[in-house]
């Protein structure tokens, strides 16, 4: 009894994603990750391993959302675009099963890819660290795994929001614009608010901007604080935000709320 046979939709989701060249794209992403991390290390005078790890994590955090968008287009948008729902939704099966099965299939594949990328990056950084003894070595033990775990939560939020766009979208490019737009805003707004609070920016009406941007905190999860890579870059657990249980709970609740909304929309959507 493998997980693939848990539900037929999970299995179909896996097959669709693998048919959409998931493996070959993942391979090229891994090759690019290795090149990017090794080249980034060349640019650092004092901390090559830290910069390689830093840029590698940035690459993972940018490449995997693109993979999410691409796979959402394959798993959901094409389903409606090519009218496959005429067969897949006519069985006496509830609609939520199709959504949840494929969502879980996509997330499983993403986590697998994240783990492989994380292992590759860890090995590369470990090799780089042998070359040059840094004054502050990177931490490739539990801080690194915690960082990857937080990235997995970040990806869960993005997948949940992206799946919502995939269900309501009428054109595949809307998924790209919506998901990537959400990602950029959710990852940057809290940092921008913090920067506006500093005295180093010359701007009129600074307070006003800060307050109106602060309203975003009620609409979006703070994905920037899910980026806890400083604990592994500088080997100091102090950089883990003190409210991390609340952060994780909030992000998961946000994703589940979005999934509920998606299911609600999917139940009521009229296909023509």
């Amino acid at each position: 009894m493998t997980p693939m046979h848990l539900t037929p939709d999970y299995h179909i989701g896996m097959c669709l994603a693998l048919r959409a060249r998931f493996v070959s794209i993942s391979f090229w992403l891994l090759v690019t990750l290795a090149i990017v991390a090794l080249l980034a290390a060349q640019f650092s005078a004092r901390q090559p391993a830290t910069v390689a790890l830093d840029v590698g994590l940035s690459f993972i955090r940018l490449a995997l959302p693109l993979m999410i968008v691409f796979q959402l287009q394959e798993l959901f948008a094409k389903e409606f675009d090519r009218r496959y729902f005429l067969t897949s939704l006519t069985y006496p099966r509830p609609r939520h099963q199709l959504f949840l099965g494929r969502f879980l299939a996509l997330y499983t594949l993403l986590i697998t890819l994240l783990v492989i990328m994380g292992l590759l990056l860890g090995v590369l950084v470990g090799v780089l660290e042998q070359d040059y003894a840094q004054s502050t070595p990177v931490a490739l033990t539990h801080p690194y795994f915690i960082t990857l775990g937080f990235i997995a939560i970040d990806l869960f939020v993005i997948t949940a929001v992206g799946a919502f766009f995939a269900i309501i979208a009428t054109t595949p490019s809307f998924i790209l614009i919506g998901t990537i737009g959400f990602m950029i805003v959710a990852r940057s707004f809290s940092t921008i608010i913090a920067m506006l609070g500093g005295e180093r920016i010359v701007m009129a009406n600074q307070q006003h901007y800060q307050e109106s941007l602060g309203l975003l905190a009620y609409l979006l999860p703070d994905l920037a604080s899910l980026d806890v890579r400083m604990i592994t870059l500088y080997n100091t657990m102090d950089f883990l935000p003190a409210n991390w249980p609340a952060l994780i709970a909030g992000s998961l609740a946000y994703s589940l709320a979005f999934m509920g909304l998606t299911l609600w929309v999917l139940q009521r959507r009229r296909f023509s």
Partner: protein, 280 residues
């Protein structure tokens, strides 16, 4: 025939575009050349959005741009660019090691010690386990700002952070407190240490120039001491060193900034950076 028509048309249009862009009015070209060459540093919130909300990536890319493109000519434009680029990185990731290390080495010794000290202060605060920025900061306070209390405090902080260097750092802090330290020699040793610790040959060359600049200052101060011992009166004019034959010529500053003689003391001349003076 028809299938060659569109490629030919495209080629023709491209040629027209190239020709048109060559025949720009000469006035426009000379105007842009006459402008002083300065470099743009995009502000931190915009950089953040351009990098997909990833402040660490933005900090890394800006540091790479800085290390690989900083020019060796040391005019106020270069220093101004360095100040803006390093303070941007500090905003994005204050713990970035390359940025504070390069910034402190190039700024503090390139005539912008105030900005170098601000950079080091932020690095000291963020890298709360690292003794090196605290030591550099204390050194800057002592050597450039003559603030021995702050220097002593920073060195004691550095001593607390580094168990293996605790004794020597603590000793230096006490020597500062009692005023029995030879600033110039210590500065030169320190600059040479910094130079030997970087791997990049270009950066090494830049730090070498700064060491030569400091050697020039030391030779000026030593000549002044010899003058005052020989003639038993304070030196009034820097040119008296040449007329009495104590110096054959003034030392050349490889950075082209030079030295100044004010209130009877030889100093490293400071750079005026446009737009940075009135900000504080």
């Amino acid at each position: 025939m028809n299938r060659y028509l569109w490629p030919l048309f495209t080629l023709f249009a491209a040629l027209c575009f190239l020709l048109a862009s060559r025949i720009t009015p000469m006035g426009v070209v000379t105007l842009t050349q006459a402008q002083p060459e300065d470099r743009v540093v995009i502000s931190a919130p915009v950089q953040l959005l351009l990098n997909g909300g990833d402040r660490f990536l933005a900090a890394n890319l800006e540091t790479m741009r800085l290390t690989s493109t900083v020019s060796e000519s040391n005019d106020s434009d270069t220093t101004s660019y360095l100040v803006r680029a390093t303070s941007l990185v500090t905003q994005l990731n204050p713990c970035h090691e390359d940025s504070y290390y390069l910034g402190s080495a190039l700024l503090s010794w390139g005539g912008a010690e105030k900005e170098g000290s601000i950079l080091l202060k932020r690095a000291t605060e963020c890298r709360h386990w690292d003794w090196i920025p605290a030591f550099f900061y204390g050194f800057n306070q002592l050597y450039f700002h003559n603030n021995s209390t702050e220097a002593q405090r920073a060195l004691e902080l550095a001593a607390q952070r580094s168990p293996e260097n605790y004794a020597s750092l603590q000793k230096t802090a006490i020597m500062i407190a009692t005023g029995q330290i030879d600033d110039d020699r210590m500065a030169l040793d320190y600059l040479r240490l910094q130079r030997d610790q970087v791997s990049d040959p270009k950066l090494k060359k830049m730090l070498e120039k700064r060491a030569i600049r400091l050697e020039g200052l030391i030779s000026l101060r030593e000549a002044q001491q010899r003058f005052e011992k020989q003639f038993n009166r304070p030196l009034n004019e820097a040119s008296e060193l040449l007329s009495t034959g104590l110096l054959e010529q003034f030392p050349k500053d490889p950075l082209g900034i030079g030295y100044e003689f004010t209130d009877g003391v030889f100093m490293l001349r400071k750079l005026k950076i446009a737009g940075m003076e009135e900000k504080r």
